[in-house]
Symmetry: C2
Subunit: 314 residues, 2 copies
């Protein structure tokens, strides 16, 4: 297999996507520092375009395509933030985005994709149906598949958040991100270890969706059921992301469901920002494993802010 | 009566409070611009210390006191953001803050004041009881009364938000703030008209608490019942704030209760930030009276972000 993205590709990605993304702010809170016993820095990708870091990878993938590839459009199967981000990126380049979504995807998620001009293709709510429908769309249109995470262009794009983070706060001791499919975590690990070799990089996942922790222990991608409120983290690692995580990540820590909800609420109350449940998992890890962070300068990537205000978990 | 604060006093206030407050960011949204037909700039005082612009005035008042005055502490009667901001400011100066609150003040509001070290004095939930209890506390302690808005130190402090706003976005056509007691609006009007004479300054208030609009029409402070979700705006103008508003404000526009809730929700969804109902009133005014803002560069002061997450209005 070809080698993973290096800092050079990440910097190219950053130049490529710069006109199309926000350089998101870093927030701090003396109160949350006191509560955690650490010094916390929050990189606010909830303020990112389309409400999540996914716009970084999606823009990098879409703007990496040749003109001939681009003319045939892009496709993916996703009901989450990647779908909206890809639809937006495609619209910016003036090309089609075919988004395969399960019939039971929520109205807000459909509206978000449609609002960015994505062409929704509904299918049965099974992984098999999603993959076969997506393959059909690609066969029919010639569109390029843009996988949500198992794609080097996506990994390099997601990594740009860590580049900005370390430009703004160069002396972080540790950086922690949520881990679902591993696009954000693997990209963050490459960027952070390249820019600051001594930094620790941790993944955070729900105890009830701890496939990444188990995969690291087993030395292979483990498939297990995920039952968590953190809907962005229900996916498994991919064969591009897993080896990068094995080579560059110092550990995966887990948090309880109650802890995720409590951490999410605390972020809302103190920082006055909306973050989605997946984004609160690193903060929940810090609350439940304070010994891992005591006295350290901790960078947390708040991955997204797309929540259903009619279905808050408290 | 002595003249109102001038730009010079506002600049002095800004220097005085600078170590104790945030310089809050200004957010924009292409989506909200499209929806409004105007170019909107949001000055995020919901990110201010203690969660509201009130920290500006409270810090200016507390740090304006002589050493002898300060030694006897400060007092106020309030159950809202001013109470927490004053408690915090007093703690920063290392002096006592006596906060008279009605017995039925909510637990979060008491906790906020207590969390900043304020000494809570409970009283019956009537204005008469609040004023007499506050007078007793002052007679007993010699504390200085810091009124929530009808005080030139408070007005000058609140005005500093507009100074920062125009430093960051110098070419605003109009600036709009909520109006309750008028501290923020009067200070904003002095600062904005001094720095940019041609600017329009508007107040925004709930239709169901339109005492400020009626006061301007009547030429005197009108007392009328306020029944609004915007709990920060249920107060009347004062004899310091009203003449400033008469002289410097171009108009007061109103919004419906449904419009306030809808605008609040839209700000949460799009900007991914928490704002309290009072903060959403200017946005509601823009939605309900778009002709006042069409094509203009509109500065909106988002006054605060202290909301009860267990009692959201949707």
């Amino acid at each position: 297999m070809h080698p993973p993205p290096r800092l050079e590709e990440i910097r190219q990605a950053h130049e490529r996507i710069r006109p199309h993304i926000h350089r998101t702010p870093v927030l701090t809170s003396a109160l949350l520092d006191r509560e955690s016993g650490a010094r916390l820095f929050f990189k606010c990708e909830n303020f990112q375009k389309a409400g999540a870091f996914k716009s970084r990878g999606a823009c990098n993938a879409v703007f990496s395509l040749s003109a001939a590839e681009a003319a045939r459009g892009v496709a993916t199967h996703s009901s989450g933030n990647h779908a909206a981000a890809l639809a937006r990126a495609a619209a910016l380049r003036g090309i089609s985005a075919h988004i395969v979504m399960p019939q039971n995807a929520s109205a807000p998620k459909r509206q978000s994709v449609a609002g960015f001009g994505g062409q929704i293709v509904l299918c049965e709510p099974t992984l098999a149906a999603r993959e076969s429908t997506c393959a059909e769309v690609i066969a029919r249109t010639g569109a390029t598949l843009i996988h949500p995470y198992n794609d080097d262009r996506i990994i390099a794009g997601q990594a740009t958040a860590a580049v900005e983070f370390l430009e703004e706060v160069p002396d972080l001791d540790v950086v922690i991100t949520p881990v679902g499919g591993g696009g954000l975590l693997s990209g963050t690990a490459i960027a952070a270890k390249s820019l600051r070799p001594g930094i620790r990089v941790l993944g955070a996942e729900p105890l009830q969706a701890d496939d990444a922790a188990e995969s690291l222990r087993a030395g292979r991608i483990v498939d297990k059921p995920a039952r968590t409120i953190a809907d962005g983290l229900r996916t498994l690692l991919g064969d591009r992301t897993f080896p990068i995580i094995q080579a560059n990540v110092d550990g995966i820590a887990t948090a309880s469901e109650d802890g995720i909800v409590a951490a999410m609420r605390r972020l809302w109350e103190v920082l006055k920002i909306l973050v989605e449940p997946s984004s609160a998992v690193p903060s929940a890890v810090i609350r439940e494993h304070p010994e891992l962070f005591a006295g350290q300068r901790v960078g947390i990537i708040l991955s997204g802010g797309n929540v259903d205000l009619d279905a808050l978990p408290w």
